[in-house]
């Protein structure tokens, strides 16, 4: 089975739908599971106990985990000087700590199987050092650093860890961002166009596939940097 966090909205929902369509058994983890028409577990990734409880439930299923996809996240597009303390904490706690909690608490299941793949989500804002995204980018840079090191720790157990770093994809996270602003960002990519959720879903499929067995500890920047 494949586990997707943040499965109820945005990219998480799109990935869940794609994988389900492909015939994969997907378990969605989300704070609110209302309207999720797949097997799901209520889970707030920013809360260690909540993640631990979800991991315990999954372990009891005794079903191998093919992939764990950490999509749950939050964004705030602000200059550092105009980002309040609670927003800083929320960004770090959800994006960075949430990813770490999920990886560390689900890893014991994966390493026992001696195969599987973690896919964590970063952002192209890290590589491009996008102005106005400093705290958000910092939280995701942490995800990248964690993922590279975690990949080394998991390699002995034949578990791969990679990151996908999308550019601006039209989801709830981008509400309030104008097309002009998006174009300003995408123009800095090697392939200067706006990619879609489906492009990210393609990369997820690639990273899960055995054909990507040589890839671990990598960050795939969508559009290229």
């Amino acid at each position: 089975m494949i586990i997707v966090t943040g499965a109820s909205r945005g990219l998480g929902k799109a990935i869940t739908e794609r994988l389900t369509k492909k015939g994969e058994k997907v378990i969605g983890l989300a704070r609110s599971t209302d309207g999720l028409n797949i097997d799901n577990i209520e889970c707030d990734v920013s809360n260690y106990s909540s993640v631990k409880s979800a991991a315990r439930k999954v372990k009891k299923m005794k079903t191998p985990i093919k992939a764990f996809i950490n999509v749950a996240g939050t964004a705030s597009m602000n200059m550092a000087v105009t980002t309040d303390e609670s927003t800083v904490q929320k960004l770090i706690q959800t994006n960075l700590a949430g990813t770490i909690y999920c990886c560390q608490l689900f890893a014991p299941i994966m390493l026992r199987q001696r195969y599987g793949s973690f896919i964590n989500f970063s952002t192209i804002a890290v590589a491009l050092a996008l102005k106005g995204e400093s705290v958000y980018a910092a939280s995701k840079a942490g995800v990248e650093a964690f993922s590279r090191t975690f990949a080394k720790e998991m390699a002995d157990f034949n578990v791969r860890v990679n990151c996908i770093a999308p550019g601006p994809i039209r989801t709830d996270l981008l509400r309030g961002i104008t097309d002009t602003q998006i174009q300003k960002i995408t123009s800095q990519q090697i392939i200067p166009k706006q990619f879609q959720k489906s492009d990210v879903c393609d990369l997820v499929e690639l990273l899960i596939d055995e054909k990507a067995s040589s890839l671990s500890g990598q960050v795939l920047n969508v559009g290229g940097v």
Binding site: K52, R56, Q104, L105, P108, L111, R112, E153, D156, F157
Partner: protein
């Protein structure tokens, strides 16, 4: 080994020592005061994880949950990975809950 009841410290020690010994392929005599973490440890981090996974399985067989990701497990000063005896003690303690 299946006990079907709460285990005492001696049973826990026997399980832990046997598990570690198996993972070290009997090449080393495992003593109660053997360190599991730090420079003196004979186990690398991968082997330590394997010990934990094996103990998790033994706990399953004995109808309790062995949580090796708890604060007690990770705390440096109180870590159950200090020695074989400390790990056995924690294993026995968790069998009671």
């Amino acid at each position: 080994m299946k006990l079907g009841k709460t285990m005492d410290i001696d049973q826990a020690k026997e399980m832990v020592i046997s598990t570690i010994s198996d993972l070290l392929e009997g090449k080393v005599k495992v003593a109660e005061d053997m360190q599991l973490i730090g420079g003196e440890s004979l186990l690398d981090s991968m082997k330590l994880v394997e010990v934990c996974v094996a103990l998790e399985d033994l706990a399953d067989e004995n109808n309790f949950e062995f949580d090796w990701t708890s604060e007690t497990a990770m705390s440096k000063s109180r870590s159950m990975f200090r020695t074989v005896a400390a790990l056995a003690s924690e294993f026995a303690r968790q069998s009671e809950t």
